[in-house]
């Protein structure tokens, strides 16, 4: 039992680190508030993605024929660990390369792969995932966005919501209802959609946190050629499951202050001696450490060339709730003063306050706490599925509300 790389892993880590040092500054070299955003960030992000792609670091596990490295999942883990030590402009490509493009690769034609994979890999084109709708969140198979066949095309009308990056994306995969007479899982079909089509409108959602990072997307008579269908007509759910399986591999951590940050704050504030606080701090440490070490267990399986067990599914349930609790505790520790949100004057640049308003979203995004617990109960423990009154009923006869 040890935490060491194998000689092959160590060699790859050295190579990755040397490459990163050549191109990027270490994290923390620039203060948080001097970081760029908006269009300037996107330019840098695209440039960095191109460099990665040209040097075989963009999608390490993808085969070389499609521009990957042909590497192991453990090498991808090592790359992620090393890249996170640097001030790398990542983010805009995660959904496309992590979820959408793998779906295109799995279900698309050779023409699709030729057309879409390379520009996504080099950062020239960005993808988004158009699944959730106002009436189809956890129950995503209940989407209502309609695709109606018209000659060689499909005509799309409807609304998607919580679409990350829709406003800067070039393409998306969109889950549509093609046959409302079928039970809900059976009448769905997946398409590739051009996000620059005049019938596609992305509007930012004004989030509870005050920001506008997510979008709702409206489709008005958007024509999609049948050749841009992914999978069979009516097989959209099967296609969506492949995308979602990739999503579940991607979610886990929740960015924001952890036990070390609140401990540091309490020390500075002189409240670290409080017994009740110390007991909470111990609980946070144990759970956070538990998740971190659980990832090490999964990585051990990867390193041995095995498939990791289901243990990683505990991640977001732990981290999102803990983030919320830690922010709440820090604010209450600050008392009335803790209500204030000014980044220039508040302790820790108001990180606790900002994350306090993000935390509710993290408990919902990428699978709510409740859905994640259902997944553990059903797929890990083998417990029966919930009662599904809608499973065999034609979609257009279902109760809506």
């Amino acid at each position: 039992m040890d935490f060491n790389d194998t000689p092959e892993e160590a060699a790859f880590r050295t190579e990755a680190r040397a490459f990163l040092e050549k191109h990027l500054e270490p994290k923390g070299a620039k203060p948080l508030r001097q970081r760029i955003s908006g269009e300037a960030f996107m330019r840098e992000a695209k440039a960095w993605q191109k460099i990665k792609a040209e040097n075989g670091f963009a999608q390490i596990t993808w085969p070389k024929e499609i521009g990957g490295r042909g590497g192991t999942p453990m090498q991808q883990v090592i790359w992620n660990q090393e890249e996170s030590q640097f001030d790398a402009p990542t983010g805009p490509f995660a959904i496309g390369l992590g979820m959408c493009v793998p779906t295109v690769i799995a279900f698309g034609s050779d023409a699709h792969k030729k057309r879409y994979v390379r520009p996504a890999l080099t950062g020239e084109e960005i993808w988004c995932q158009l699944f959730s709708e106002p009436a189809a969140g956890s129950d995503v198979a209940g989407v209502k966005t309609r695709a109606v066949r018209n000659g060689d095309d499909w005509v799309i009308n409807g609304q998607k919501v919580w679409t990350t990056g829709a406003h800067f994306s070039d393409f998306g995969i969109v889950l549509c209802r093609t046959d409302p007479k079928q039970p809900k899982h059976k009448g769905l079909t997946m398409f590739i959609v051009n996000m620059k089509d005049p019938g596609v409108e992305a509007r930012p959602i004004h989030q509870a946190s005050g920001g506008r990072e997510f979008n709702e997307v409206y489709f008005s008579d958007v024509r999609i050629p049948d050749s841009d269908r992914l999978g069979e007509v009516g097989a959209g759910w099967k296609v969506a499951l492949v995308t979602l399986m990739n999503e579940r591999l991607a979610v886990g951590g929740s960015p924001g202050p952890d036990w070390a940050e609140i401990m540091d704050y309490a020390r500075k504030a002189g409240t670290l001696g409080d017994t009740a606080f110390r007991e909470k701090l111990a609980d946070w440490y144990v759970a956070a450490q538990g998740y971190k070490l659980t990832k090490f267990r999964s990585q051990t399986a990867l390193s041995r060339g095995e498939t990791p067990g289901p243990e990683n599914s505990i991640g977001k349930i732990i981290t999102a709730n803990q983030l919320q609790d830690i922010c709440n505790e820090a604010i209450e520790m600050q008392g009335h003063y803790g209500l204030m949100v000014d980044e220039d004057t508040m302790p820790a640049d108001a990180l606790f306050q900002r994350s306090f308003m993000w935390a509710p979203g993290l408990r919902i995004a990428g699978g709510t706490d409740e859905i994640l617990k259902n997944i553990i109960a059903e797929r890990v423990l083998g417990l029966p599925q919930d009662v599904r009154v809608d499973k065999s009923v034609p979609f257009d006869e279902l109760k809506q509300g």
Binding site: M1, D2, F3, N4, D5, E9, M74, M263, R267, L272, R278, E279, L281, A282, D283, Y285, V286, A287, Q289, G290, Y291, K292, L293, T294, F296, R297, Q299, T300, A301, L302, S303, E311, I314, I317, I318, E370, L372, K373, N374, I376, A377, E378, V380, L381, G382, L383, P384, Q385, D386, V387
Partner: protein, 371 residues
Amino acid sequence: MNFDFSEDQKFLRDEARKFLTAQCPSTAVRAVLDAEDITHDAKLWSQIGEMGWLGAAIPEEHGGLGLGMLELCVIAEELGRVLAPVPFSSTVYMLAETLKLAGSEGQKAALLPKLASGEVIGALALSEGPGEPDPASLSVRFEGGKLTGTKIPVTDGDIASHAVVLAAEGSGASLVLVDLNAGGVVRNPVKTLDPTRSHAELVFDGTPAERLGEAGAGAGLLGQLLDRVAVLLAFEQLGGASRCLEMATDYAKERYAFGRPIGGNQAIKHKLAEMYVKNEVARSNCFYGAWALSSDAPEMPEAAAAARLAASEAYWFAAKENIQTHGGMGFTWEVDAHLYYRRAKLLAVQAGAPKVWKEKLIRALETKNAA
């Protein structure tokens, strides 16, 4: 990254599970539970001795197998799964580890071989009354080679041949070793929440004893000892918690109410999912504790505390919610759920309750941060 047990260690686990499933069914645990005069499963104890488990982590020069602490962790988890009613933890985690940590060459040579062969049963005597014993104000005293005072309760105190006792000496505290069969000790059995493990009050009245380690070094040695004990007990707790999750899950699939298995209801599904999350947090922290224990890592204080805390929390939650999932059946004497509930409590408090370990953990993090 190699954060897992080896193939050999997994083989040992599989063999241990097979052996204990056959030799320690719940009827064996209940035999100790139900009969006032049965203190432990003597047959199982001698079989465990024959398997060499008592000496798994004792060097070969002292009659052990000379395997290592990781192997002991593997065995501990399996013993915890089946609630083995034997004085394994008292003898191996507590007495043997004290001797390895603080014993003189003479003490080790005299006791470790007998311990490995099953002739010696150990006990660790700390508690004197409600709350954690404070090394600065102990009532049991060791002066001039004689021990005086009362320890209560002492796990396996009625069957042990040798006890490690925390006692005041001069102005400090020391660890001392007592041969309980040499006379001068009154042992009074005491009833506890977990009758599957025996407990006693030990009354010393000028009882001959010998010191382990330096005079006044008791508090420091005890701290080191309890870090080691914590990891090993955590594996027993993990085994028990895992078994509770299995029992609850199996029952939730079999038990029908309102026309379907109760495990189809989210109130039960989510409860069991939470149990799974806590058990995985415990397993990962236990692995880290095992790594620190087996490699003498400087991270041992926080690793031991986190393993113990995670495992105590997981076992408590799993044991109480296992009863709850079983409904009325879970509250009957016949269903084993209460045996785990009882054992969960014994293991959570016997070497420092969670509150104590939380404070130890935060102190360790403060020390690390200051360094």
